[in-house]
C-alpha cells in the first residue's frame, strides 16, 4: 500500500520537505518527497499495516508542529495521491462533505471497481473532476468539450475511443482515472554485494601464507553468497586492516566473471605472494566489487562440445588471467600493407564455450540430391563454398536429416608473415622496366629463385610513415614460395613472408 501525505501549508515550506524525512523514517523504512502539487510526501507501507503507518506518520508530523496534513492510502500511487488532495478539490468543487484540514484515508472509503481496471477506486474519488489528475490545459479543454465532468465518467470510457479522440496524453489520464499507475515511487533497494570480514586482536599476522587461510575461509562465504544470488564476480576487493591503524586495499581481478572459490583463491594467492606488508594484519575484509549475473548459455544436446564447455571456459579464463588477452581475433582494415592491415583484439566472449561456427545449410534439392551444387554458408564469415555433387549430404533412410558425407574445408597454401621483414642480400637480373630477383641470401645460405612474379608496387602514406615497395612472389629451389620486396625508398631487399 502507498501512503501519501499532503498539506496546503507545505506550499510555503516545500523546500524543507526533505527535513521531514528523518522524522518519518522512524515510522517507515522508506520515505520519498516530491515537489509536485506543492509538496507530496510518500511513505512506503508495502508489507506493513498501512493505516497504522498513516496514523503514526500524522502523529510524527503533529509533533513537528504540522497539523493541517491530509493523508491518502491506496493500492496504487495515484489513488493515494488523489485521496490525499481530494478534500481540497471536493471543497473547491462543492461536492465534498469534508472540511479542509481533516484527515482523509482512502482505504476507509468504500471502493467501487472500475470495469476492466484491476484496481478499485474509492467511490468518493470518482466524483472528483478530472482536473485533480492535473491534465494539460489543452486536454482539459477537450475533456470539457466532450462533457467529461468527473473521473468516473472518464474511467468509464473505452480505451480505444480515448486513444483515438484524446491521444497518448488522454490515455495516460484515462489510466490514472481508472487507478492504474505504474510510476516507480520507491526505487528498488540495491542488494548489498556479498562480503565477509574477520578481525582478531590477540596477535598481528605478518606471514602472507597464514593470511591465505583466512582469505580462503572468507572466499568460501563470499562465493557461496554469489552462487545463492545467481551471480559471478569479476572483481573482488581485499582489505587488510593493519596494526598501525591503516587499511591496505588491493583489488583482485579475474579474467572472466566467476564464482569459483578455487579460481579466486588462486588469484588471491598470486597477489598475497607478491605483497609486502608494511605492518602486521589484524583484520581482513573481502568484498565482491563487481558482480555480473550468471547468465548461462543455451546448450545444444547435439553439440559435441557442450559437455566440455565449462572446462574450456575455465581453461581460457585461467589463460586470460595469467597471460592477458591472448585469445585474439583479427580486426582488418583496408590498409595496403598487409602487416598494418590487421589489428589483433582480445575476444573475451570466445571462451564462453559457445562456439558460433555452426553451419547453416541451404539445400536446393533435398529430394534427389541432384541438380546444381549446393551451397554451405558460414553464418559469420558469409563465405559460400560450392560443394561438388559427389560430396553432397546423403539422406539416411528413415531419418529426416541430411548427413554431410564430406565437408572438409579445403587445404590451401596461405601467406605467413615474419614479425618484422628481414633484410636479405640479393642477386637480380634486369627486365624491361624492373629488376627480378634470381637468388637471395638469408641466414648464411643462398636460395636460388626458380621463378618469380612481380613486381606488385605498393606505395602510400604521403603524410605519415611513407612506404614504396615492390613485391615479388618467388619460388625457390627448396620448393617454398617466399614473398620478397624491394624497398624503393631505402633501396634494400627484404623477405617478408612465405606460403605454407
Amino acid at each position: 500500500m502507498f501512503v501519501c501525505l499532503w498539506s496546503p501549508a507545505w506550499r510555503t515550506v516545500a523546500d524543507s520537505l526533505a527535513d521531514l524525512s528523518p522524522a518519518l523514517l522512524t515510522v517507515t523504512p522508506r520515505v520519498v518527497t516530491e515537489e509536485r502539487r506543492g509538496g507530496l510526501v510518500w511513505v512506503d507501507a508495502r508489507g506493513l499495516d498501512a493505516e497504522h503507518v498513516a496514523r503514526a506518520s500524522l502523529e510524527v508530523l503533529r509533533g513537528l508542529g504540522l497539523s493541517n496534513v491530509h493523508v491518502g492510502i491506496g493500492k496504487t500511487a495515484i489513488v493515494a495521491e488523489v485521496a490525499a488532495v481530494a478534500a481540497t478539490f471536493a471543497t473547491m468543487a462543492g461536492t465534498g462533505n469534508r472540511e479542509p484540514g481533516t484527515e482523509t484515508a482512502g482505504s476507509e472509503q468504500p471502493s467501487a471497481p472500475v470495469p476492466g481496471s484491476p484496481f478499485p477506486v474509492p467511490e468518493s474519488l470518482g466524483s472528483l473532476p478530472p482536473s485533480v489528475l492535473e491534465p494539460d490545459p489543452h486536454l482539459a479543454a477537450l475533456l470539457d468539450g466532450i462533457g467529461i465532468e468527473t473521473m468516473a465518467e472518464l474511467a468509464a470510457l473505452e480505451g480505444e475511443s480515448v486513444e483515438v479522440r484524446l491521444g497518448a496524453e488522454g490515455v495516460r489520464l484515462w489510466k490514472l482515472a481508472r487507478g492504474e499507475d505504474d510510476r516507480l515511487i520507491f526505487a528498488p533497494i540495491p542488494r548489498a554485494l556479498p562480503h565477509a570480514s574477520l578481525e582478531w586482536s590477540d596477535y598481528a599476522l605478518t606471514d602472507t601464507e597464514r593470511l591465505l587461510f583466512s582469505v580462503n575461509a572468507l572466499l568460501g562465504t563470499v562465493c557461496e553468497k554469489l552462487m545463492e544470488r545467481g551471480s559471478r564476480a569479476r572483481e573482488m576487493t581485499l582489505e587488510l586492516t593493519l596494526a598501525s591503524g591503516t587499511t591496505l586495499t588491493t583489488p583482485v581481478r579475474a579474467g572472466r566473471a566467476t564464482a569459483s572459490r578455487k579460481t579466486w583463491l588462486r588469484l588471491a594467492r598470486a597477489i598475497l605472494e607478491r605483497m609486502v606488508l608494511p605492518a602486521g594484519v589484524v583484520g581482513l575484509t573481502l568484498h565482491a566489487a563487481t558482480v555480473v549475473a550468471d547468465a548461462g548459455n543455451q546448450g545444444d544436446l547435439f553439440d559435441r562440445g557442450f559437455a566440455t564447455a565449462a572446462a574450456t571456459e575455465a581453461a581460457l579464463a585461467s589463460l586470460a588471467e595469467e597471460q592477458g588477452d591472448v585469445v585474439v581475433v583479427p580486426a582488418n582494415t583496408a590498409h595496403p600493407l598487409v602487416e598494418r592491415r590487421t589489428h589483433w583484439v582480445g575476444n573475451g566472449e570466445l571462451g564462453t564455450g559457445n562456439r558460433g561456427e555452426k553451419r547453416e545449410r541451404t539445400t536446393r534439392d533435398r529430394e534427389t540430391g541432384k541438380g546444381e551444387p549446393q551451397k554451405y554458408t558460414d553464418r559469420k564469415s558469409a563465405v559460400v563454398r560450392e560443394v561438388p555433387n559427389d560430396q553432397q549430404p546423403a539422406s539416411v533412410p528413415g531419418s529426416p536429416f541430411l548427413v554431410p558425407s564430406l565437408l572438409l574445408p579445403d587445404s590451401r597454401l596461405t601467406l605467413y608473415l615474419l614479425p618484422t621483414p628481414r633484410a636479405v642480400e640479393i642477386q637480380t637480373e634486369q627486365r624491361r622496366d624492373h629488376v627480378l630477383p634470381t637468388a637471395y641470401r638469408d641466414g648464411g645460405a643462398w636460395y636460388k629463385v626458380l621463378s618469380a612474379a612481380g613486381p606488385d608496387r605498393v606505395s602510400g602514406e604521403r603524410w605519415g610513415e611513407a612506404f614504396a615497395r615492390e613485391y615479388f612472389r618467388c619460388i625457390i629451389d627448396d620448393g617454398g614460395m617466399v614473398w620478397l620486396y624491394h624497398d624503393a625508398r631505402a633501396d634494400g631487399w627484404y623477405i617478408h613472408g612465405w606460403w605454407d
Binding site: 547435439f302 553439440d303 559435441r304 562440445g305 566440455t308 564447455a309 572446462a311 574450456t312 575455465a314 581453461a315 581460457l316 589463460l319 595469467e322 597471460q323 592477458g324 591472448v326 585469445v327 581475433v329 583479427p330 582488418n332 582494415t333 583496408a334 595496403p336 598487409v338 590487421t342 589489428h343 589483433w344 564455450g353 562456439r355 561456427e357 555452426k358 553451419r359 558460414d378 564469415s381 565437408l407 574445408p409 579445403d410 587445404s411 590451401r412 597454401l413 601467406l415 605467413y416 608473415l417 615474419l418 614479425p419 621463378s451 618469380a452 612474379a453 606488385d456 608496387r457 602510400g460 613485391y471 619460388i475 627448396d478 620448393g479 617454398g480 614460395m481 614473398w483 613472408g497 606460403w499
Partner: protein, 168 residues
C-alpha cells in the same frame, strides 16, 4: 594443411586452437572458427598449450613457433593423454610423437597463370608431398592444393575505392 585440419575440426562441432607464438599468422587470411592464441613468450606458449590440452575441451591443439624440448615434450604428452585431444607441434624433433608428418612443396609443381608477355602472374596450384610415419607404417602422397592470392592493394590510401581501370 594444419589450418584445414583446424577448420575441419570446427566443422565437426569440436574445438581447435592454434597457438601462434611467433605471430606469423596474417589476420587478413585467418578464417573464423578455430581459436587463435598469441602468447607473449615461449614459456607462455608451452604453459598455455599444456593447460588447453589438459582441459579436454579441445580436439586439436596446434603449437606453432615454439619447439618443445626434453621434459617439456614429456609434460605436453602427459597433458594430451589427460585431455584426450590431439596435439600437433611444428618441430624438426618429433620425439614422442605417435604420428610424424613431413611435407614439402615440390619446386616444379607450381602452376602459374601467365600474362600477355608470358610472364608468371599468379600461382594457381602447387603440389605438396606429404610423408606420414607411425609405428609400423610409412606412406606418402602428393596433394595438389590451391594457393591463396596475397591480396595486394596497390598504391592506394586506405578507405579509397579502387576505381582504376573502370571505363569513364
Amino acid at each position: 594443411m594444419l589450418r584445414a585440419a583446424c577448420r575441419c575440426t570446427v566443422a565437426k562441432n569440436e574445438r581447435a586452437v592454434w597457438i601462434d607464438t611467433a605471430g606469423t599468422v596474417v589476420g587478413a587470411f585467418w578464417d573464423e572458427g578455430p581459436f587463435l592464441i598469441q602468447p607473449k613468450s615461449r614459456k607462455d606458449a608451452l604453459k598455455g598449450a599444456e593447460e588447453l590440452l589438459q582441459c579436454g575441451g579441445f580436439a586439436l591443439v596446434v603449437l606453432d613457433g615454439t619447439e618443445p624440448e626434453g621434459t617439456e615434450t614429456v609434460r605436453l604428452t602427459r597433458a594430451v593423454r589427460e585431455g584426450g585431444g590431439a596435439f600437433v607441434a611444428i618441430t624438426p624433433h618429433p620425439s614422442l610423437a605417435k604420428l610424424r608428418l613431413e611435407s614439402k612443396i615440390l619446386p616444379h609443381s607450381y602452376q602459374w597463370r601467365r600474362g600477355p608477355f608470358d610472364d608468371p602472374v599468379d600461382v594457381q596450384t602447387a603440389t605438396v608431398r606429404v610423408r606420414a610415419r607411425a609405428a609400423g607404417w610409412n606412406a606418402s602422397a602428393d596433394i595438389t592444393v590451391p594457393v591463396t592470392p596475397h591480396d595486394v592493394r596497390l598504391s592506394l590510401e586506405p578507405g579509397l575505392a579502387d576505381r582504376r581501370g573502370l571505363p569513364r
